[in-house]
């Protein structure tokens, strides 16, 4: 043992004179680091209650609970996360995944509760709802920039080049490949917020899951539960579900529509048959359906599955309604529509073509011979523009124009075409005219952002060099030497006092006149109820030109059900399909008296 080793340790006595390493008493409060993972805060206005936080929490410490003052509505479940701090481990996965970015953490880390009662439920709280002293702290863990665990960009869909598609009726959207579809399906957080927004309440998260698991037969079964027109809807649906998608808040929504199309593109008609394996026994009851559009045929499908004998009366020579006669082929090829229809027909549904009820056959006849009647006749009476010169030759309606194109009749449009209106029919008419080689101008009363047409239709029309004239109120059309002189009054938007949408008001004297060969009017259409006998038309109730029905789509006459564009306000295919489905259930209940 050396003396050095005995003495040396005393050297560090000097530390006794240094500043202590510990904090002094009373305790100084030490704030957590800037990115400290402390207590949660939630911006409940931003939060939509998707439950991704609950899903990823590995401690099961998050519950979704209803909160006073937050309503359940489209795109918001009305639930908010409540956290059990007895289980939370502050890993912040909930913050990383939060698709809206509403959930964050502060750098506060002390929480004392006083009292000697039961503390069991003290440390459960709903961030952002319960008053906490850390609610307004700035610092704390936020998902770092450049760090995302979800994919917020869509997998790009291959679309035909503008130059190539402007004069072609070949389907322009190519559809996803297997790899693309699986990657797109992988982005979904399966929260299910979209289901309530879909008019047909399709089980979107489940069929997306089936895509991920590459089980397309199961996917088809899920689709047909609520929608026998999935192949068509996969192409032309107004996809309001995508607006409700939780990923939309900080990025791009899931391409739900294209995923549906992917499923249907990749199963053959035989596979549809074998995976659905629809079996039923006839119950001897007969149902008449007027109109072989998506509403009528989907009612036919679900009724046939329930064992009813269904006869559909169609005024035109082919089935499909607006899907065939309203939507141009480059968006929905007829073969694809036929795939949907053929499956429905394979269940024994009969369609009598070229029978217009009220003209070729009496409504009373059906009323007498069938147990129940469902009509879904669509809107076929174009609104009038109420301007001078509207009846001139060369002024045609959008519906008639699209009809003619479908039936292969030369629509006889000139070199320059004006399309009046801003809805989907207007866009389809404009883009179809474009494909006939015309220069097309869309004339619309309001602003571009007010157009009721789908955004992508507007964008694609612009890509195809369709000219848009907005804030233009048509005033008159004059014909001179085969040319149509179309005048409109330029307008300005005036905010409405009651908060309604801004209204276009004509600017006095500011009139533009341009010449066109053809003017297509597509400003909307109404239902044509002339087929109904007088006493029935009086019995049914109408409002704003639409038939009033109850939840099961039953009209004031208990034997008559109605659906589709003549009933619902949204007037799109998916709503009609839903009406058909609900009416089928309603008819079944009414006839079985349950």
């Amino acid at each position: 043992m050396s003396l050095k080793n005995f003495v040396a340790p005393f050297y560090v006595w000097k530390r006794a004179f240094e500043k202590p390493l510990t904090n002094t008493k009373p305790l100084e409060t030490r704030p957590g680091a800037a990115a400290y993972r402390g207590f949660h805060v939630n911006d409940i206005e931003k939060c939509i209650g998707c439950g991704s936080c609950e899903e990823i929490c590995q401690n099961m410490s998050i519950d979704l609970v209803p909160v006073d003052g937050i309503e359940t509505k489209d795109g918001d479940s009305g639930l908010r996360p409540r956290i059990d701090y007895g289980r939370c481990c502050w890993c912040a996965l909930c913050i990383d995944i939060c698709p809206t970015g509403s959930l964050n953490m502060t750098n506060e880390y002390t929480w004392l509760e006083e009292g000697d009662g039961d503390v069991d439920d003290k440390f459960i709280f709903t961030p952002g709802v319960d008053k906490k002293n850390w609610n307004n702290l700035e610092l704390g863990y936020k998902r770092p920039v450049d760090y995302e665990i979800l994919e917020y960009s869509k997998i790009k869909m291959t679309i035909m080049e503008t130059a190539e598609r402007s004069d072609s009726f070949i389907e322009m959207v190519k559809g996803y490949s297997k790899e693309e579809a699986e990657r797109e399906a992988d982005r979904c957080v399966a929260c299910g917020i979209c289901v309530a927004t879909c008019p047909a309440n399709m089980d979107i998260p489940e069929y997306i899951k089936a895509i991920r698991e590459d089980d397309l037969n199961e996917a088809v079964r899920l689709l047909y539960k609520t929608n026998p027109f999935s192949n068509s809807c996969g192409r032309i649906c107004t996809h309001r579900c995508e607006d409700a998608c939780v990923l939309e808040h900080r990025g791009e929504s899931i391409s739900i529509r294209w995923l549906k199309r992917y499923i249907m593109d990749n199963v053959s008609s035989e596979e549809i048959k074998s995976s659905l394996a629809d079996e039923f026994t006839k119950n001897g009851k007969k149902i008449a359906i007027i109109g072989a559009g998506p509403g009528g045929l989907s009612a036919a499908y679900y009724l046939a599955k329930l064992g009813y004998s269904v006869t559909v009366f169609e005024a035109k020579e082919k089935a499909g309604g607006m899907l065939r006669y309203g939507i141009p082929e480059y968006r929905l090829p007829y073969d694809e529509l036929d795939k949907d229809i053929n499956y429905i027909l394979s269940l024994g549904v009969k369609i009598e073509y070229n029978i217009r009820i009220g003209k070729d056959k009496d409504f009373d006849d059906l009323y007498k011979h069938f147990d129940s009647i469902f009509f879904s006749i669509g809107l076929s009476k174009p609104y009038s523009m109420r301007v001078e010169g509207e009846t001139l030759p060369g002024v045609i309606s959008g519906l008639k124009f699209l009809d003619d194109v479908t039936m292969g009749i030369d629509p006889k449009i000139g070199k320059s075409v004006a399309v009046v209106g801003g809805g989907n029919v207007a866009m389809d008419a404009a883009r179809t005219s474009k494909r006939f080689g015309a220069d097309v101008t869309v004339v619309y009363r309001r602003r571009l952002e007010d157009m009721p047409a789908d955004l992508e239709e507007i964008v694609e029309a612009q890509e195809e060099n369709v000219e848009f004239v907005v804030k233009a109120i048509p005033t008159k059309i004059v014909e001179n030497k085969g040319k149509l002189y179309f005048s409109w009054n330029n307008a300005k938007m005036v905010e409405q006092k009651d908060g309604g949408r801004p209204k276009p008001v004509a600017i006095e004297g500011d009139i533009t006149t341009r010449t066109f060969d053809t003017i297509i009017s597509a400003i909307g259409q109404a239902g044509d109820f002339s087929f109904l006998p007088k006493e029935i038309e009086e019995k049914l109730k109408f409002k704003w030109g639409k038939v009033i029905t109850d939840k099961s789509r039953q009209t004031a006459d208990s034997k008559i059900f109605a659906g589709g564009d003549v009933v619902n306000a949204t007037a799109d295919a998916i709503s009609a399909i839903e009406d058909g489905h609900k009416a089928a259930i309603g008819i079944d209940r009414a006839l079985r008296k349950i």
Binding site: G51, V65, T72, S77, G78, G192, I193, V195, A196, P199
Partner: protein, 177 residues
């Protein structure tokens, strides 16, 4: 210097290898027959210089009715890892004891016996508890032991916990039926 591939080749020639997976240049897994395991381990340790036993572990392949036992060895001369795997029946789960080869083997075998219910006859103290004193019920690392059910049966959840599924909740509230 011997390479890992040489060693694997030797094992293949002498004892036979049922399957081989080259995971990385310095990590290979081989599967051998149950009865060959001890000979392979001794050979690797004494001849091929795999002198360091990294660990022994098991996987329960419930759906195939098998346990996989993995002996992971390391060679400090060429710094490679060699995993020796074998499959044993789940019904009659026992394996030859290798406690004489390395000092820590007995501990691993004791743990595997406790956690998986794999018996190693002859291994010292193999029937003693390792981490689970007083444990009753099936060995907990077996796949058919459900941890969630166990904790629900054994512990109480905090009062007032209840959650809602957004999809179902919205269906209930938005009445699109």
């Amino acid at each position: 210097m011997k390479t890992i591939l040489n060693s694997v080749k030797n094992i293949e020639q002498i004892f036979g290898v049922l399957a081989k997976k080259i995971q990385r240049p310095d990590l290979i897994f081989i599967t051998v027959e149950k009865k060959q395991v001890l000979s392979v381990l001794s050979h690797l340790r004494d001849i091929e210089e795999y002198t360091h036993l990294v660990m022994i572990t098991a996987i329960d392949y419930l759906e195939q009715g098998k346990f996989q036992i993995l002996y992971l060895l390391h060679n400090y001369k060429n710094n490679t890892d060699l995993g020796v795997k074998t499959f044993i029946s789940r019904e009659d789960a026992h394996m030859y004891s290798a406690h004489h080869l390395w000092g820590q083997v007995a501990t691993y075998q004791r743990e595997l016996h406790e956690m998986f219910g794999i018996d190693f006859p002859g291994s010292p103290r193999v029937n003693e508890n390792f981490a689970l004193e007083g444990w009753e019920g099936i060995p907990p690392m077996r796949r058919d032991f459900d941890t969630l059910r166990y904790s629900q049966e054994t512990y109480n959840f905090r009062k007032g916990r209840a959650t809602n599924d957004p999809k179902k909740y919205m269906k209930k509230n938005l009445h699109k039926e």
